[in-house]
């Protein structure tokens, strides 16, 4: 890793994705912090350490988009078990079968068709179960 990557919170997050890890921050008070930033928005602590999510999450809300020129997909807001909320996406066979309250697994992979590695969601009872 370069020094520049360590200095950049965003680059550190992206580097961990390339290693297959969904990284988030934790403060000394036990608050999960996401997206990365230099302060805990809950308690104001600047003593933040990186942690790794195990990938268990629940769908807090979901909206399905059906573009004319590609397969439908569902954008979700997840409540990740470690205590933070983030946007993600279900595509492929799970694209339109998820509902609010469903348990999902977060998997670091690229969206079908390529692109950067992202923390995408898959139904826990889906193809990877």
């Amino acid at each position: 890793m370069s020094l520049a990557q360590e200095r950049s919170l965003d680059a550190t997050y992206r580097r961990r994705l390339t290693e297959g890890v969904l990284a988030f921050q934790q403060c000394g008070g036990g608050h999960a912090v996401f997206p990365p930033r230099p302060v805990c928005p809950t308690c104001g602590s600047r003593e933040l350490a990186w942690a790794e999510s195990a990938g268990d999450a629940t769908i807090y809300s979901a909206t399905t988009i059906s573009p004319r020129d590609q397969d439908p997909y569902t954008v979700v807001i997840l409540d990740v078990a470690e205590g933070f909320r983030m946007m993600s996406r279900l595509d492929g066979p799970d694209a339109t079968s998820a509902t609010i309250g469903d348990d999902v697994r977060v998997e670091v992979r690229a969206i079908a068709g390529g692109g950067d590695l992202l923390p995408l969601a898959a139904l826990s009872t889906g193809v990877d179960a």
Binding site: Y60, S61, T63, T64, V75, I77, M87, I100
Partner: protein, 388 residues
């Protein structure tokens, strides 16, 4: 130092105008129509441009908005404010102008907005390039609609709200628009039309979404003392309150309760009023779910009861509460940021000059601006002379 409650009614809105609503054509700039609305609002107040000593403006179409507009109109303000909280900016400007006037930093404030997004591209323009990495965009949400769709889906999950409830809001807006000669869309719209419309981001269809139009608006604010000598009926600013909890929708603590709970409660407290005192309501309806959330959060009905509140024409002409009496962003006009038009319509209602859509005995008007993705919430209470 002034207690904010002491500012109640200390300033008034003395001039309003709109320009370039609908479609102005490809060669008319956003700055031009913002300038035209500004000049018309100043004239509406019976003032001259040289009377303006404070300029408030936000735009996604020209940089340094307040400074650019000042140069364009030949204004030399001693107070300049480009507060940018999205569509709520212009309601926030009412508060900032009141504070500046109270502090003696300015006496006559111009608040203006203009956009030619319909003629320019037909799409939404964003407020400047974002050079900060996004933790949302890579997942492909269609912003802003998907953000509001996530709120709507969660509201349905928690409270049993239905797409038909949301359709009631679109239909009510259209019925008000049919009473306004300048409304962009005035053709008949039914519940079934909304339910059958093309889905954009579930559960919101294209008829749950605001228009994409051109348009500009401007208002002029000065001391109530000076306003008494000007030509229009008095419209005092009774209170304004701001609140925000998030910028990005994925970081919101609660998708079904917005920071309007806080801005609304503070605005009512500062004005010494309750929701039952409000005669006419103008809330920022970028999407149908907005109206539902804001009616709940501002205290017109309890959380989760928005669906029954709007049912059976509840907020349409002749319903239990007049809401978005010009047709709103859904049917009247929506040039990117709608906040200024909320103020213009409330003032017209409180002056009694709203024609076929005039609400009888309108003494207190509520204006609620929304910015971002349910991010910035700003509530203002306006009155007529009887409220002072």
């Amino acid at each position: 130092m002034t207690n904010e409650a002491q500012l109640r009614g200390s300033t008034s809105i003395v001039g309003v105008a709109e320009a370039g609503l609908g479609e102005v054509g490809p060669d008319v700039s956003a700055l031009q129509i913002a300038g035209e609305a500004s000049l018309d609002a100043i004239a509406d107040a019976g003032l001259r441009p040289s009377d303006i000593d404070a300029v408030f403006c936000h735009s996604a179409f020209f940089t340094f908005p307040a400074t650019t507009l000042s140069e364009y109109l030949g204004l030399q303000p001693r107070y300049v404010d480009t507060t940018a909280t999205g569509g709520s900016s212009f309601v926030a400007h009412l508060r900032h102008a009141t504070a500046a006037i109270d502090a003696g930093m300015a006496e006559v404030a111009l608040i203006a907005y203009g956009s030619n997004q319909h003629s320019h591209s037909g799409g939404l323009a964003t407020s400047g390039a974002n050079l900060v990495p996004s933790y949302e965009a890579p997942f492909g949400p269609r912003m802003p609609v998907s953000g509001y769709a996530l709120a709507a889906a969660r509201h349905m999950h928690e409270f049993g709200t239905t797409r038909k409830d949301l359709a009631e809001i679109a239909v009510a807006a259209r019925k008000w628009a049919q009473l306004h000669p300048d409304a962009f869309t005035r053709d008949d719209l039914s519940i079934d039309d909304v339910l059958g419309a093309r889905m954009v981001s579930t559960p919101l269809s294209v008829r749950d979404c605001c228009l994409v139009t051109d348009g500009a608006g401007a208002v002029v604010v000065t001391t109530t003392e000076r306003a008494r000598d000007l030509r229009q009926p008095l419209v005092p600013i009774l209170s304004v309150a701001e609140a925000s909890r998030h910028m990005n929708i994925s970081t919101t603590p609660d998708l079904t309760t917005t920071a309007a709970v806080e801005s609304g409660a503070r605005a009512f407290d500062l004005a010494g009023l309750r929701p039952s005192d409000v005669d006419v309501v103008e809330v920022y309806d970028a999407f149908t779910i907005n109206t539902l959330l804001f009616l709940e959060d501002l205290g017109f009905c309890t959380k989760g009861e928005g669906g029954s509140f709007v049912a059976d024409g509840g907020i349409a002409p002749g319903g239990r509460l007049p809401v978005n009496t010009n047709g709103g962003g859904l049917s009247y006009t929506h040039p990117g940021m709608y906040g200024i038009f909320l103020i213009v319509e409330a003032v017209r209602q409180l002056r009694g000059e709203a024609g076929d859509r005039q609400v009888a005995d309108a003494h207190v008007g509520l204006v609620h601006g929304n910015g971002g993705v349910l991010s910035s919430q700003v509530t203002a209470l306006l009155g007529d002379a009887s409220t002072l």
